[in-house]
């Protein structure tokens, strides 16, 4: 999956009430910038093929 620009304002406006987070106007630009970076990072991870039986590693055991 390649990165596609998305409407970060819409994401903030949808999730903030769900999470009961207040987003002050002066916080918005920073949150948007971080969401865009996260979107690009997610696109990189999604390029990695995962098998259906892939197990997560929430607690890493070496």
């Amino acid at each position: 999956m390649a990165y596609k620009p998305f409407d970060a304002d819409a994401l903030i406006d949808a999730t903030a009430p769900l999470l009961q987070l207040q987003v002050a106007p002066e916080h918005r630009a920073g949150i948007k910038a971080n969401l865009k970076t996260a979107g690009k990072m997610a696109a990189l991870v999604e390029q990695m093929k995962l098998e259906d039986d892939a197990e997560p590693a929430p607690v890493y055991r070496a």
């Binding site: 207040q22 971080n34 892939a54």
Partner: protein, 470 residues
Amino acid sequence: MKASATAAEIAGDVKAGRIKARAVIEAALKRIDRHNPMLGAFTEVTAERALETADRVDAKLAEGGDPGPLAGVPFAVKNLYDIRGLVTRAGSKINRDNAPATSDATLVTRLEAAGAVLVGALNMGEYAYDFTGENAHDGPSRNPHALDRMTGGSSGGSASAVAGGLVPLSLGSDTNGSIRVPASLCGLFGLKPTYGRLSRAHTFPFVSSLDHLGPFARSVEDLALVYDAMQGFDEADPAQSKRVNEPTAARLKHPVPGRRIAVAGDYFTGSTEAQAHVQKVAKALDATKVVTIPDAQAARAAAFLITMAEGAALHLDRLRSRPDDFDPEVRDRLLAGAMLPAVWIERAQKFRRAYRDKVLKLFTEVDVILAPSAPMTAPLIGQKTASFGGVEMPLRPHMGIFTQPISFIGLPVVSVPVWLEDGALPLGVQVIAAPWREDICLRVAHQLEASGTCVAPVARGFAEAEVGSA
């Protein structure tokens, strides 16, 4: 006692009766008093406790007992470690309203059981979400090698205190590079052990999936001594592995053959400045092999996402109730982290296992992989952007580009300090081994120290500061 004395030298002198532990600690407290206003390394000094602990060490020696391998050695810890009677602030303003800790962090207890003496708590980036060593509430920790420059973070005070000769040893934490980046920028040896090796009990967390604790020192022997003293299972950390102690200090002189040491290619060659430092180390080790750590960019991305999301989950209530009391840069990243789709995080965790399997295969061919600890030497305090591969990028997240793909799967690393010329700023190189092979990282670091390739001096202007004597 000189500011440049190593822990091993101090313990040797104390045990031989050449100096009292109390005198060592009094000298350390004087150095802290004199230099900390310049360095911003300590946020709290536990002078009374330290002198009492030192007196117990001296009393034990007077009775003919052995106080342990770190007898009378002063050390300090990042202020996310619990210290009995102090509030664990974790670099934040918000946590200062918490009750004082009722016990010490497990690793503090272990070091004091080995004879070491806690002298205080150290500055850090807020909630450890930082690579700069700047703190919005306490001010920046400063790099003793250039006071206008960053220490790196988030264990910035831990690096400043050791490079400034205030203490020979300190402890920090490393989730994505927070020991390795400041060790790199301040010219120190830093150890990030295997994930699950050391107990994290009674420290303030950040990202449970990725949090590690570890030490800073100016000699590899010291790093091994302090690491050995901290090993051992502790059921209070649910992520710790039940692993027998594997002492390293006595085996430092066993060399690792150059043909079993490789340089990380591709992704890890993105900084010309860092590559020059890696090549100096490779040459000294006679390491000519190059290996590709596969999918490193995706690994860094996955670590980035897991960090945002787990960090946000940890701080969600504080983000709701006190958003304006956070460092704004930390707050905005955490708020964004709360809004990430869950499927991204699940896929990042699944990728983690697949990536681990691929990387561990490399260790059938080699014992050690070398990679930069940071993309550049210490930036100026306050600097917000820097050129990465010719592109101007935000500085703060990019300082961890070479450390994140390694800690993502918990591999053990010693960051070794490299100086290309006299007077230049240092840059670190990661000596990376397979899980549970801290001994190999330390042996290679020792080889590099013995050959003079890597040194970790007290910064000029601080080294001469001899205060107090036997």
